[in-house]
Amino acid sequence: MPNTEEKMKKPNYFSSVLNKRMRGWVVGGLVTMFALILLLAWLAPFGYMISTSLKTQLQISDITAPLWPAAPNQVEIEGQTYDVFTVPVGEASPAWFDVNGDEVQDPDEASLANGDYELAIVERGRESSKFVDPNDAAAGAIHWVGRWRTLSTAWRFEPQWQNYAEAWELPSRPFTFATLLYNTFAIAVLGIIGTVISCTLVAYGFSRFRIPGKGLLFGLLVSTIFLPRIVVTVPTYALFIQFGWVGTWLPLILPHFFANAYNVFWLRQYLMTIPREMDEAAMIDGAGPLQILWFVIIPQIMPAIITVALFHMVFAFRDFFEPLIYLSSRPELQPISVGVQQFNALFGQRPELIQTMALLGLILPVLIFFVAQRAFTRGIVYTGVDK
């Protein structure tokens, strides 16, 4: 009977499903664990940056200091400041409470249990010292046998927010970080206007018009992605010098008004996915190419245009080489990237300020990325993948 056979199989079937599930959980857990460890290592530099940017110079040079921003713990008792140490109490280094200000004869009477204590040192001696418990100073002095110089400093969490205030002021410059921020945004926004207008026009031309040799032109456009920029640097620089534009923002903005391969490619990809029916309907209604672009195409490719704008914003924050060569003589016009780099050269001995500047330099693009994540991933999928 088939019925009995089925009955025989059933438990087996279930157990194998269960097994499979268990295995799935274990493998999933292991893979995720591995990815998590990798990710922690991947992001460790950010941890270093944030932590260091909140440290004192003193803590950075102290190798016994903790990784988190901290300051040597000190307490104030009756108007006096005392350093706090981690005091190990054990067989070889006993500690006990002084009674009546004098040493007790029998340490056992008031001795401390073994363990580590955070105590403030009040009297430093060679072989033994006196401490008080910062939380209970009234309990009296504690006598500890051992060399205080071997003790490690107790640290307390104390972020140095004033590093940010100091970095913001840009020591040695007559302007503040706000100027760099303004410059970066101004260059970025003007560039965005240029790249959005020009790339939309060109992508529209490439995707909707029959032009002889279009394939050749488009291939030429795309091949410029692989063009080494170094080969155009000198004549372009010489050209801008002739125009008297070196030391202005024009060399950083103007070229974006003439389209670039990445953005045209990706806008065109996006345009190709949009059916032509609406263009054709508009054309029959007597709309010209410009009207079709404005009223039909642009509303439909708005998400793509926003992606282009966002990528350009991030590009403007990243771009270093061109602002470096065109604005080296005009610090007050430089964007964040160049300003931060010159700061690095000036303040090699202040790691905490350098990390503060690094953070100020990356915070905006990273925030933009998190806020507009979808737009960014959409951009990648269309540029990188055959659709």
């Binding site: 799935g24 999933g28 893979v31 995720t32 990815a35 990798l38 991947w42 992001l43 530099p45 941890g47 260091t52 950075i60 040079s61 190798i63 060109v202 031309g205 490439f206 909707r208 018009f209 029959r210 279009k214 032109l217 291939g219 795309v222 091949s223 692989f226 080494p228 170094i230 155009v232 000198v234 004549p235 010489a238 050209l239 010098i241 003439f258 490619f265 190419p289 991030v314 924050f317 270093f320 080489f321 080296s328 964040i336 690095n344 050269a345 790691p351 350098i354 990390q355 500047m357 330099g361 990356l362 693009p365 990325f369 991933t377 990648i380 999928v381 540029t383 990188g384 993948v385 055959d386």
Partner: protein
């Protein structure tokens, strides 16, 4: 269609369309829309590229523009007797040989991990592995400069916890390349994410077919995933090759343009840059730039030639 294929498509002729008034009208408008790019291409790409070649036969310098003379091949013969040219070119080649395989395989490995069906929270992981790409170059270099520092940096302290004595990452002429590689890989999120997008685009049916054939996960990866994403690997590989030959900004920022330690990061493009903007030897720099351009072009040509052996091409409509 992937970007790489576009370039090859360039060389294939399109059939000549018949001409009608309507067609001419369309062409005219099309060219108007293309005009910004055509102008930009001529002024900012084609002319400068040719001008670099012309400059390389002169003694042009912004210090004495009006007295520029043609000096024939002098700039090129000068290269032969300039020891820094050979040395810096060797450094660039060495760095290329070290970095190129990593620039290809690490993004594939990470993308494979992020694409794994076993991985939970994939979006979360993808976002954070991609994030360093958003960090501007200067900030990235400053962070790593501190992170790798033997005094106060975290790298060696982390290595210590697993019992490894870390090297002097930035001041040892052998380790400095590895430091630069780490920084480069970290910021290469774009390659990871494009590769991942490619993997996600592989049709499900192919995986199911492979499963039916009894292929294991490694065989599936090797014979299904890799061929399907080969156009993207090709694109990233070509870009990496072009980028690595022009590589110098990271060490430029890290060591305040000095080529430290001991000149080991004075790469060819940095020497070129110095000639342009520090020594005001613009014409000599142009000659160096043209040589570098030819090297990059030669490598790119090789990648395109080797393409047919391993890059999978989808049928065209």
């Amino acid at each position: 269609m992937a970007i790489g294929e576009r370039i090859l498509a360039t060389f294939k002729r399109s059939p000549k369309p018949p001409k009608s008034p309507l067609q001419r009208h369309e062409t005219r408008w099309g060219l108007i829309f293309l005009a910004p790019w055509i102008f930009g291409f001529l002024v900012f790409i084609l002319l400068p590229t040719l001008a670099t070649l012309v400059f390389s036969f002169t003694d042009y310098s912004i210090l004495h523009v009006s007295e520029t003379r043609f000096i024939g091949l002098d700039n090129y013969t000068r290269m032969l007797s300039d020891p820094i040219v050979g040395q810096s070119l060797m450094r660039t080649l060495t760095f290329f040989v070290m970095a190129f395989p990593l620039a290809i395989f690490i993004p594939i490995g990470l993308a494979a991990l992020l694409n794994s069906e076993h991985l939970r929270f994939r979006r979360f992981f993808t976002t954070f592995f991609y994030m360093p790409y958003m960090v501007p170059l200067v900030s990235a270099v400053l962070i790593w400069g501190g992170f790798l520092s033997p005094t106060g940096g975290w790298m060696n302290r982390l290595l210590e916890t697993i019992g490894i004595q870390g090297p002097d990452w930035l001041r040892s002429t052998t380790w400095v390349y590895w430091s630069l590689l780490i920084v480069g890989i970290w910021g290469n999120g774009n390659a990871i994410v494009t590769t991942l997008a490619g993997m996600e685009g592989v049709p499900r049916e192919l995986y199911e077919a492979a499963k039916m054939e009894g292929a294991g996960s490694f065989a599936t990866f090797r014979h299904v995933t890799l061929p399907m994403i080969s156009p993207i690997i090709f694109y990233n590989l070509t870009l990496a090759s072009v980028g690595l030959f022009q590589y110098f900004l990271e060490p430029y920022v890290l060591f305040a343009q000095a080529g430290d330690p001991g000149g080991s990061t004075l790469f060819f493009p940095m020497y070129l840059f110095q000639n342009f903007f520090q020594f005001q030897e613009m014409a000599y720099g142009a000659a160096l730039a043209w040589v570098l351009f030819l090297i990059i072009l030669a490598f790119t040509a090789v990648w395109f030639a080797l393409r047919k052996f391993w890059v999978y091409e989808a049928e065209r409509e």
